[in-house]
Subunit: 570 residues, 2 copies
């Protein structure tokens, strides 16, 4: 029922990234990162050699738990503890692959109802254990890792709460339990004729509650919004009781409590269910590829279409480096189609598309709507020197879209550092920010004296701005892997902050981004967050150490493979 | 420069509602409310007989003020104190017309910069005076009235901070000072080629800061959103310092602080400026009238159009009673056009439009967009038995839209109670809620044994629901005017709450809606709001008594003409 990811990497343990079917890919990576046949292999430690810490037990809490849950809902075995230790950031995977699992939960509980969560949160508050809510475990900013070192560490795996509780066919809303993972949620809704349409990279594993807690953005956000735009009402089980927000399209009854709970990253309580906007399952999904001579032209095309109130379901624009990577994933065509492909390439090269940028543009809806949108949007993007590749590229992309994250595991087996960083900015700042971030990382590779890769795409667009999503990679510096990673992470985050970008557009804060929170929200903004925390979780039960920096945040230790909390000073 | 409203009623002191040009209107009102030539006249008290309370002075505060402001920014005269005593609800106007002004501010200050507001809030926090921020004074839920009785009462009139500070032509955002009233804000933006497009009934007087503090909704919200959808970033001067939110299209750096400040009704601090989404000033504004045989058909038409992603700029659907009132405001045409009009009426009556419901549908944008939207929307509404009246009705409506609130003053001169109540609900609950609210008020008029009027319109529509806006009126019960008003107010609000409506869609909470806040947001929701208040305004300086009910809210006194705080128990 519950699909756990592999303990040492991303995704389904049975799935292997089909490197063999993509003969251009590995050579491209080898060249970009300076790998060769002699490059050291860095497989994860043997599962058998991996030792979890002795679990602590809070007897009063466990007694309360036994009164609430059945034995099958309580897991103290190492397998479950290991799987719930980390999210999937580079530092998470690096540590788990080294066998560093000191922050494993002491027990994993699987509540099956809102009432059970209420009882567990009340018991935790009474007995002083620490609670972390866990959805798919896909978070990459440290969101699900236990940090408190003294008390018993309890992880609530929410995935047994995954039902669609109610559908309102008039209002296009669905009440859904927070533990529903993407595929089950979509299957259940689609069986009712509806869709949520939220498809982030984490879709196959992450849950509704996790998306809400982190302000997730799906690939089709241009049409359906970020998760915070889709939520109509929700329930949060906090140590102060259950906060249930009003089911209403809009309200002026004070600050928006939905928007306080959304993005609260488990520090205020556990989201147990939400009423979400849904829409009739689209009859047609039509995805097209368009090539641009440069990132600027593609970006201008998106900007114009969006500002003419003609937003398609998805815009995704890759820069030249990411486009090269994408093209390297395509098997070269043989025969006639291969010949045509090479002729098109020559033709484009001659016309200034030597380093093309690939845009995917998607339309979803009924046939009439899709046809109308396509008629409107495609000519607009062509005006900006877009070369329309048709929808076969779209089909390939749709098929492969969830496979890419698996590639990192292969790279980590070859001693490489790979991670991502994302931000958003208003249009007037977007391209300067893009160039600044790209340059600072390229310069750093140069300074450190080894080859590296950085690529970027725009994946979420708004009338007032857009998001930028960077992927960077290089060989690891043996023995200094985390220092190296945090050096790059800090550099790119600093560049975002100095150039008008937000700290995170859809990955959230966890502890990775915590050092910049005061600059992001100002000191009174932090005070507001602390006020919320104090009101709903006065004893600090819920996900301690996340989102809000400690009041004396200036002097924590530097990250080492052994310590799990990175530096607080950005 | 600053346009004050008349002290005893709505709007421009020089404007008189043109009753003479609308010969059908007064007879309609007389019949609806049982008025006749013998009905008592109830003019406001003589300005000369009106006595304001002796102003209190906090010497330490006033000394600080003199160090910050010039003499022309400090007003202690009765004229200014009177104008800043109340908003414009029925209880506000009833009391001021009776000469009840015990809650007048002791002094009115006119800051001219963010830094001045910072200095004033810091001085107030240090010296223990109470601060109320005042924009246009159009609030109708008690938002700007001083309630604290012990400390010095200081009102900050924000309207000297009314500049457009910056326009970002790429990102379609404008940085605007919070004291900008609607007309100045639009004039300044339009001189730059842009528009905010926020036109609530309060447009001519209210300010950006007031709109933000109360989650205002403009008539064109279907296209441009409520004010909370338009805000990109803002500055709030709180006793804990200035909270400045990030300028970014979207973020996942924790809870949305914009959405905490928006709707905070002055209890957390003073909003001094905001970055707002703007759009190129539309070249074409095209408003059409459509008649429906009943409210259900019109509502279904809106619902279908909205759900097909074809929302026009405005939908406004009046029920049969409000349509009758609207028609009574139109002068009967003479000659041929009068003949045609009466023939159309007969034609419609024969086809089931005996009690028609009037819809206004508006399109704004460039000519191409408007034409396209019209081509798409008009046939869809016709399908729901909409009878297209063309755009002459639209022109009349556009011309008169800001005059209607003046009508209440005439009614109050004739001993009448008039007020409004508004809510929103998801589509599945909307029509049952509409009928329940209408019936409960009609029944109450019957029970109390006098004629009364209740009309309603839908003015803001969403994919998941819509708002309902009721106007109710009757003769006052002499000597028991406020008890009578609160009886009706409580009845309709209870009906909203019991039928899935929100406590307020765009009028906010103030103290009028405070008794229902716990039911609206749950007790932990209130705790969250108290946590915010405590963090940003620990000493209770900012607009005390608003939005959040006191912790022991169950037993406050009933409202009387002398007491300004209404009952807490709903």
């Amino acid at each position: 029922m519950i699909k756990d990811m592999k303990w040492w990497g991303w995704g389904d343990p049975a799935f292997v990234f089909p490197l063999d079917e993509k003969p251009l890919l590995w050579p491209f990576i080898q060249k970009s990162l300076g790998l060769n046949a002699a490059t050291r292999q860095t497989p994860p430690v043997d599962r058998a050699s991996l030792r979890l810490p002795e679990p602590r037990t809070n007897a009063a809490f466990m007694q309360a738990v036994q009164g609430v849950l059945k034995p099958g809902q309580i897991a103290g075995d190492d397998e479950q503890r290991l799987i719930h230790t980390y999210g999937k950031s580079f530092p998470d995977l690096f540590r788990v692959r080294q066998g560093i699992v000191g922050n494993a939960p002491d027990v994993v509980l699987f509540p099956e109802s809102h009432a059970e969560v209420e009882a567990l949160v009340a018991a935790a508050t009474r007995t002083g254990v620490k609670l972390v809510a866990f959805g798919g475990g896909t978070n990459i900013v440290g969101g699900v890792e236990h940090l408190d070192t003294a008390a018993m560490r309890v992880t609530l795996d929410m995935r047994r709460m995954s039902r669609v509780l109610e559908i309102d066919r008039d209002s296009w809303t669905a009440t859904i339990e927070a533990g529903a993972p993407g595929p089950k949620l979509e299957d259940d809704l689609q069986a009712l004729g509806f869709s949520l349409g939220h498809m982030p990279d984490s879709f196959e594993f992450a849950t509704l509650g996790g998306w809400l807690a982190t302000r997730s953005a799906g690939m089709q956000s241009d049409a359906y919004g970020k998760i915070e735009d889709m939520v109509v009402a929700l329930k949060l089980v906090s140590p102060a009781g259950t906060l249930a927000t009003k089911l209403t399209p809009k309200s002026s009854a004070g600050p928006d409590l939905d928007q306080i709970v959304v993005g609260s990253e488990g520090i205020l309580g556990v989201i147990t269910e939400a009423v979400m906007k849904v829409h009739p399952n689209p009859a047609v999904k039509d995805y097209h590829g368009v090539l641009f001579p440069d990132f600027e032209s593609g970006s201008a095309a998106i900007h114009e279409v969006i500002s003419r109130r003609a937003a398609p379901t998805m815009f995704r624009l890759q820069d030249a480096d990411e486009t090269q990577l994408a093209f390297s994933m395509k098997a070269p065509s043989a025969g006639l189609s291969g010949f045509i492909q090479s002729q098109v390439k020559k033709y484009l090269k001659a016309r200034g598309y030597a380093q093309p940028c690939l845009m995917m543009v998607g339309f979803e809806g009924d046939a009439e709507y899709v046809a109308e949108m396509r008629r409107k949007v495609i000519p607009m993007v062509k005006k900006h020197r877009g070369f329309h590749l048709g929808n076969s590229v779209g089909k390939t992309w749709t098929k492969n879209k969830f496979a890419v994250p698996y590639l990192r595991d292969i790279l980590m087996n070859h001693g490489c550092m790979v991670d991502v960083a994302e931000t958003a900015a208003v249009w007037s700042k977007l391209l300067p920010l893009y160039h600044a971030a790209r340059n600072v990382i390229k310069e750093q590779f140069k300074k450190e004296g080894y080859p590296g890769y950085i690529g970027c795409h725009i994946s979420h667009s708004y009338v007032d701005g857009a998001s930028l999503y960077f992927t960077f990679a290089s060989q690891q510096l043996p023995g200094k892997e985390l220092e190296q990673y945090y050096r790059f992470k800090r550099l790119i985050t600093e560049t975002f902050m100095r150039n008008g970008g937000t700290l995170s557009h859809h990955h959230s804060v966890g502890y990775e981004h915590r050092p910049w929170m005061e600059r992001e929200v100002t000191r009174p903004g932090l005070e507001a967050l602390r006020g919320l925390k104090h009101a709903l979780d006065p004893h600090g039960v819920m996900n301690p150490g996340k989102l809000i920096p400690p009041a004396d945040a200036k002097t924590t230790s530097a990250p080492t493979p052994a310590a799990s909390i990175p530096v607080e000073t950005p």
